[in-house]
Amino acid sequence: MSAISIRNLSKTYPVPFRRLRAFFHRPVKEPVEALRDVSFEVDTGEIFGLIGRNGAGKTTLTKIVATLVQPTGGAVTVHGHDSVVDDEHVRRLIGLSTAEERSFYWRLTSEQNLMFFARLHGLSDRTAKERIKDLFARLELEEVARRRFGELSTGNKQRLAVARALLSNPPVLLLDEPTRSLDPLAAARMREMIRSLAQQDPPVTILFTSHNLAEVETLCARVAIISRGRIRAIDTPKNLRGLTSGSEMVHITISNGEKISFTRQHNDDRLDERIRELQKDGVKIIDVETERATLLDVLERYEAADYTDGGGL
């Protein structure tokens, strides 16, 4: 069974008191269509990336999965539980970490904040203390455990948000830019932790949204590109890159410093042939570099296509 199943999901934000405003001849805005017919599944233990521009619908989608917003149509199930009908059960199965700093109590310490949320999750004080201690160690937050949230650095606040998402040991994690405010080393450690969560037993399923496309590419088994509320493509990062262009540039540096560059199609034999030729001639190969399309190229192309003909690539 999929950990997260999204079927024909749509969400249109209604305009509050539309008829009343029209009656009083006040300007009436059009309802905002945030999601249209979104469908995909995320397997247990998969790290699934969701990329798109600001306002593309990522946050709405995440909030619907988190039961904070009700969809207009379609359904979301988490481990078989419907996010509308069985919302309380779904919340037991998920942890959400956002980059929103205001979601904590600023005058409470890091430890007190987590203890409050642990109690709401129904953990006993003893279990909560052990869990918090473990998470502080894992996320390198021990030094700031007794410090008020308002006094923490932005990076530590973000790590505390991830710690809170992990408090109840949820089988599904929704991570919204978990490394945005972290320094490069801390970000690398966070990525490592995310990867280990997906590989542990039992594995954690992760829905990951980020604007750091290199990070998405590194972490995610599959990526969905969302644009103007619609899923434009879902595939592995490698296959998505292949969708934009079938070719890549190869640069081979040989022992005398000379650089041989050529273009090849994905999976053709040209690279093998070139290497064999060079080896046959007794040339030592120092380095091989390839210039492939990135997820940014893919995203840009989908965006461009969306605004011109409204279709695919």
């Binding site: 904070l68 309380e88 205001r102 904590f104 409050f116 109690r119």
Partner: protein, 276 residues
């Protein structure tokens, strides 16, 4: 069933959180105690002006200090019953913490009830201080059944909490501009007989304004509590305010819960639950 089992634990979580937030502002706590003492002292001296002048028809006002202190203590409590539910939602919305609270396996009614629990504890303490300072420093006598007074206090608080649920529903949909808050907040002190007998409204402001006091649950609650604590009446003599309050409860409880359910659904549909 599970939610019911976990309810005390969740209420404790909110109370512990709010206690910690409360003690992080120690000065405010101290100043509030001093201000209550100042109010009680001021009322003591004002009450001396009226000593011996009370009209026999206002039997509850023979000792004005006792009447004012019960009025203030009880009004304090009633206002908490009414306003804390809406305030708990509004405060979490403004702090930005409502979303993270709602992400835990807890439903919105539980959030509202649990997050106002500390307000009730705090108000109980400060309301008690009015009576305590009156008794200890100014020799105010209370007689009658404290148990019956507490029954009135709880019943009126629950009735006002129903209005509080309506107010919270407004806070969820309209965010601000709650008509119940304006009416009850400004109206209770004036119309429910906290500082002067409600009969005076009839006499001096006319029957229309005078009858406003009759539709306020706080008027009947206060009347009952004073009849018990100041006049020493028993259950048989306070049936009128008791049944009036029960009537309010029978009408308001199902209505407020129905409105609240609709407000939650609407806010979730609009995606505006966490906005303020």
């Amino acid at each position: 069933m599970n939610a019911l089992r976990l309810l005390p634990r969740r209420i404790f979580a909110f109370v512990a959180r709010d206690f910690r937030l409360f003690v992080s502002y120690r000065m405010q706590f101290l100043l509030r105690i001093i201000s209550i003492l100042a109010v009680v002292t001021t009322l003591f001296f004002i009450s001396k002006i009226f000593a011996g002048f009370t009209d026999p028809q206002f039997s509850q006002w023979r000792d004005p200090l006792a009447t004012w202190l019960t009025g203030l203590a009880v009004l304090n409590y009633f206002m908490t019953g009414f306003s804390s539910l809406a305030n708990s939602i509004r405060q979490e919305q403004m702090q930005g913490t409502l979303e993270s609270v709602l992400l835990t396996p807890i439903n919105l009614p539980t959030v509202i009830v649990a997050s106002s629990a500390w307000d009730f504890l705090e108000t109980t303490f400060f309301s008690f201080l009015y009576l305590f300072f009156g008794r200890v420093f100014f020799g105010v006598e209370y007689r009658g059944s404290f148990f019956l007074a507490v029954v009135f206090l709880l019943l009126t608080t629950v009735v006002l909490a129903c209005l509080g649920i309506l107010s919270a529903s407004f806070a969820m949909v309209f965010k601000r501009g709650d008509p119940f808050g304006i009416f009850l907040g400004a109206g209770s002190a004036l119309f429910s007989g906290v500082f002067f007998p409600t009969q005076l409204l009839q006499t001096h402001a006319g029957p229309t304004l005078g009858s406003i006091s009759l539709i306020l649950p706080a008027t009947h609650g206060l009347q009952g509590i004073r009849q018990v604590l100041i006049e020493g009446h028993g259950l048989a003599q306070v049936t009128q305010p008791l049944f009036t309050l029960l009537g309010f409860l029978v009408v308001l409880l199902p209505f407020s819960l129905w409105v609240f359910g609709r407000a939650v659904r609407r806010a979730k549909r609009e995606g505006s639950l966490i906005q303020y």
